[in-house]
C-alpha cells in the first residue's frame, strides 16, 4: 500500500477515506486543492521563484504510488509537489516549502522545484531537465548492488527525452539490467513547445526500442489504469530486474509555470482534456459502482479544501530559516575520518 496519508491524524476525518479506491480519489483531491491554494498564494506574492503546477496530471502519480511499495525509490523533475504529497509529505510541510519557511520539507532551502522527503523515500525534486535520470539509475544500481528487490520510479516530462542523459540513463539501465521504471509524463508540452515540434519520433515509446527496453503507453487521466499498469510492471521487475519505459499520456491545465499564460494552445484543446479530468472521471466511476455518493464526495472535497487552506496558515505562521543556518548544509559534518 502507498504511503501514510499526508495529513495529521484528525478526529474530523472519516477513516474510510483512507481505504481502498476512495483513498486514490482523496489523494487526487488533496493535491488539486493544495495546488489551487499554491496558485493563489503565488499570485499574492507569498511564493517566490518558479512554481510549476501539476493540476490535471494527478492520476499519474497517485496511480503509480498506489502500485509501488513504500520503500521503492521515487524521484522526479521540478513539477514535484504532487509526487511528495502522494508519497506522504504533509500539506503543511509542502506549503511551508513554497513560502521558504524552516518548517518546509526541505527547510525552505529548496523551494517549489526541490522537494525532498527522505523518510517517505521521495528523492527530489530536480530542476535541470533530464538531470535526475542518471540519479535514478544509480538508485536502481544500489538495489542490485545490495541484492534488494526495491524498484526505482523515475518521473520526467516529454521535454526530457531529448536530453543526452535520457539516452545515457536508458542505456546504462538496460545494459546493467537495473530495476527502474522511466515514467515519461507526456503532457504534450515542453514549456511552450509542443512535443511534435521537439521530438522526431511520433511514438515516444519507440525510444525504448533503441535500448531493447520494454515499454507501454497508459492513459494518464485514468488512475485505475495507471495503478494496474504499474502493478503489472513492478511485479515483473521485482522478480526479474529490467528497466521499463512507461509513457503516461496526460495534460496540464495550467501554464508551464505560474508566469506562463499558455497562449500556445487553444481553449478547445484545454476543454477537451478537462472533460477527461482524472478526478471527475474517477468520481463518476465510483458513483456508478455505488462506492461513493455525492454527499460523501462533497465531504471529502470540503476536507481537502480545509487542509489546503490550513497549510497556507501554517506556512505563514512558520518561522524563516535562521540566518545562522546559512552555512550549515554546504558540507555534512564528517563522521568517518
Amino acid at each position: 500500500m502507498p504511503a501514510t496519508i499526508p495529513i495529521e491524524k484528525d478526529k474530523d476525518i472519516d477513516q474510510s477515506y483512507l481505504e481502498g479506491e476512495l483513498r486514490l480519489l482523496y489523494l487526487m483531491l488533496l493535491i488539486r486543492r493544495f495546488e489551487e491554494r499554491a496558485s493563489q498564494a503565488y499570485q499574492q506574492q507569498k511564493i517566490g521563484g518558479f512554481c510549476h503546477l501539476y493540476i490535471g496530471q494527478e492520476a499519474v502519480i497517485v496511480g503509480a504510488v498506489a502500485a509501488a511499495r513504500q520503500d521503492d525509490y521515487i524521484i522526479t523533475a521540478y513539477r514535484d509537489h504532487a509526487h511528495a504529497i502522494a508519497r506522504g509529505t504533509t500539506l503543511n510541510a509542502s506549503m511551508a516549502e513554497l513560502l521558504g519557511k524552516a518548517t518546509g520539507i526541505s527547510k525552505g532551502l529548496g523551494g517549489s522545484m526541490h522537494y525532498f522527503d527522505k523518510e517517505n523515500h521521495m528523492y527530489g525534486g530536480h530542476a535541470i531537465v533530464g538531470g535526475h535520470l542518471p540519479l535514478a539509475t544509480g538508485m536502481a544500481f544500489a538495489s542490485r548492488y545490495r541484492g534488494e528487490d526495491r524498484c526505482t520510479l523515475c518521473f520526467f516530462g516529454d521535454g526530457a527525452i531529448n536530453q543526452g542523459v535520457f539516452h545515457e540513463a536508458c542505456n546504462l539501465a538496460a545494459l546493467w539490467k537495473l530495476p527502474v521504471i522511466f515514467v515519461c509524463e507526456n503532457n504534450l508540452f515542453g514549456m511552450g513547445t509542443h512535443v511534435e515540434r521537439a521530438t522526431a519520433v511520433k511514438e515516444l515509446t519507440n525510444r525504448a526500442k533503441a535500448y531493447d527496453m520494454p515499454s507501454m503507453v497508459v492513459n494518464g487521466m485514468d488512475v485505475r489504469e495507471v495503478r494496474d499498469s504499474f502493478r503489472t510492471v513492478l511485479d515483473a521487475m521485482r522478480k526479474k530486474p529490467y528497466p521499463f519505459l512507461i509513457e503516461a499520456r496526460t495534460y496540464r491545465y495550467r501554464g508551464h509555470s505560474m508566469s506562463d499564460p499558455a497562449t500556445y494552445r487553444t481553449r478547445e484543446e484545454l476543454d477537451k482534456y478537462k472533460n477527461e479530468d482524472p478526478i471527475i472521471g474517477f468520481k463518476s466511476v465510483l458513483l456508478a459502482e455505488g462506492k461513493l455518493d455525492d454527499a460523501r464526495f462533497a465531504e471529502m472535497d470540503r476536507e481537502a479544501k480545509r487542509l489546503a487552506a490550513e497549510s497556507v496558515r501554517f506556512a505563514e505562521e512558520s518561522p524563516e530559516p535562521p540566518l545562522e543556518d546559512l552555512y550549515k548544509y554546504t558540507f555534512v559534518e564528517d563522521s568517518n575520518q
Binding site: H114, F116, G125, L135, G138, A142, E168, N336
Partner: protein, 327 residues
C-alpha cells in the same frame, strides 16, 4: 619507508579502501578489464570482481550521475574520469547534483562520492584534452578538491576522500603517474587530512606556493636558488578546498615574498584567489607584489615547443622569484 610510484599509490588507496568498506566501488571507462587507461586500477577487477569494479560505456553524464544516485542511497562510489577534461561532459552532474543536494534537501541527502582521475595538461594532447579544471570546480560551494603532487599525498588524500561524507574531487596528473617517492610501509594506515598543505622544503627568503604538477618544478627551482644563496620555502597546497590559508599566511609572513606556481590558466585561476586572500590578510607583511606563474592565456597548442611555452616550468618560477626578490 619505501618508494612507490604515484600510480601504485592511487592503486593502493583504492585497494585498501575497497577492502575496508564493502560499500566502496569503482566505476569508469576502462577501469576493469583494461585495468585503467593509465593502469591505475591494475588488479582490482581480479581482486574485487565485476560487481565492484565496473567498466562503463563512454557516457560521462550517465555514469557520473549513476554514482551520485547510488551515493544518495548510501553507497560510496569512486568515479574515475579517464581525464578531467572529459568531466566537462558530465559538468551538470558534478556541479549541480553532487554539491547542491545537501542544501536543496535541507540537510537530508549528503553525497559521499569521489570523482578522481588525471587533470591538467599532459603531453601534446592539444586543446581539448589538456584542461586544468581546478579553478572551475573551486567555484562551486559543496565540493572539496584534493590535488596531490607526490605518491605519498596521492595515497593519503584519496583514502581520506573516500571516507569523507561529502563529494570530493581528487585531481591527479597523468604526468605524475610514473613519479616515484617515499611512502610509509603498507602496514601503516596513511590518511592525510583534506585542507592541510605541507611545507615540502623550508626556507626564509621567499615562499613558492605550488600543487600537483608544479610541486616538482618548485622543488627544482628551490634547489637552483639555494645554489644562488636564495632560500625558498616550498608550500604544497595538497588541497584547494578546503584551503590551508593558515599555513600560507604563516609562511608568507615569515618570508615576506610570494610566488604562486599554478598549472591552470591565469584568468580567475587559483593564484588569483590566493593573491587576493594574502593581500587581504597580511598586506603589511609583503615586501613585493605577489607574482604568479601559470599557463599562457591560449587554448593549448599541439606543437611540442609551443606547448612548452604555454606551461609553467622551473625557469619561469626562477624568473618570478628574482622579480619578487628584486634580484
Amino acid at each position: 619507508m619505501r618508494e612507490i610510484t604515484y600510480r601504485q599509490a592511487v592503486n593502493e588507496a583504492l585497494d585498501e579502501e575497497m577492502q575496508r568498506d564493502p560499500n566502496v566501488f569503482l566505476l569508469g571507462e576502462e577501469v576493469a578489464e583494461y585495468n585503467g587507461a593509465y593502469k591505475v586500477s591494475q588488479g582490482l577487477l581480479d581482486k574485487f570482481g565485476p560487481k565492484r569494479v565496473l567498466d562503463t560505456p563512454i557516457s560521462e553524464g550517465g555514469f557520473a550521475g549513476l554514482g551520485i544516485g547510488a551515493a544518495m542511497v548510501g553507497l560510496r562510489p569512486v568515479v574515475e574520469f579517464m581525464t578531467f577534461s572529459f568531466s566537462l561532459v558530465a559538468f551538470d552532474q558534478v556541479v549541480n547534483n553532487a554539491p547542491n543536494m545537501l542544501t536543496m534537501s535541507g540537510g537530508q541527502f549528503n553525497i559521499p562520492i569521489v570523482f578522481r582521475g588525471p587533470n591538467g595538461p599532459a603531453h601534446q594532447l592539444g586543446a581539448t584534452h589538456s584542461h586544468a579544471t581546478e579553478p572551475l570546480y573551486a567555484n562551486f560551494p559543496g565540493l572539496k578538491i584534493a590535488i596531490p603532487g607526490t605518491p605519498r599525498d596521492a595515497k593519503g588524500l584519496l583514502k581520506t576522500a573516500i571516507r569523507d561524507d561529502n563529494p570530493v574531487l581528487v585531481l591527479e596528473s597523468e604526468l605524475l603517474y610514473n613519479l616515484t617517492g617515499p611512502i610509509e610501509d603498507k602496514e601503516i594506515e596513511l590518511l592525510i587530512p583534506l585542507g592541510k598543505g605541507e611545507i615540502k622544503r623550508k626556507g626564509a627568503d621567499v615562499t613558492i606556493i605550488c600543487y600537483a604538477q608544479t610541486v616538482r618544478m618548485a622543488l627544482a627551482a628551490a634547489e637552483t636558488l639555494a645554489g644562488q644563496g636564495v632560500h625558498a620555502e616550498v608550500l604544497d597546497l595538497r588541497s584547494i578546498k578546503p584551503l590551508d590559508l593558515d599555513l600560507i599566511l604563516k609562511s608568507v609572513s615569515k618570508t615576506h615574498r610570494c610566488v604562486i606556481a599554478e598549472q591552470d590558466k591565469p584568468f580567475c585561476g587559483i593564484g588569483a584567489e590566493l593573491t587576493y586572500q594574502i593581500q587581504r590578510d597580511i598586506f603589511d607583511e609583503l615586501d613585493a607584489p605577489v607574482a604568479r606563474v601559470a599557463q599562457e592565456e591560449v587554448p593549448m597548442p599541439y606543437n611540442e615547443r609551443l606547448e612548452a611555452a604555454v606551461l609553467p616550468n622551473e625557469e619561469k618560477i626562477l624568473q618570478a622569484v628574482y622579480q619578487v626578490c628584486y634580484l
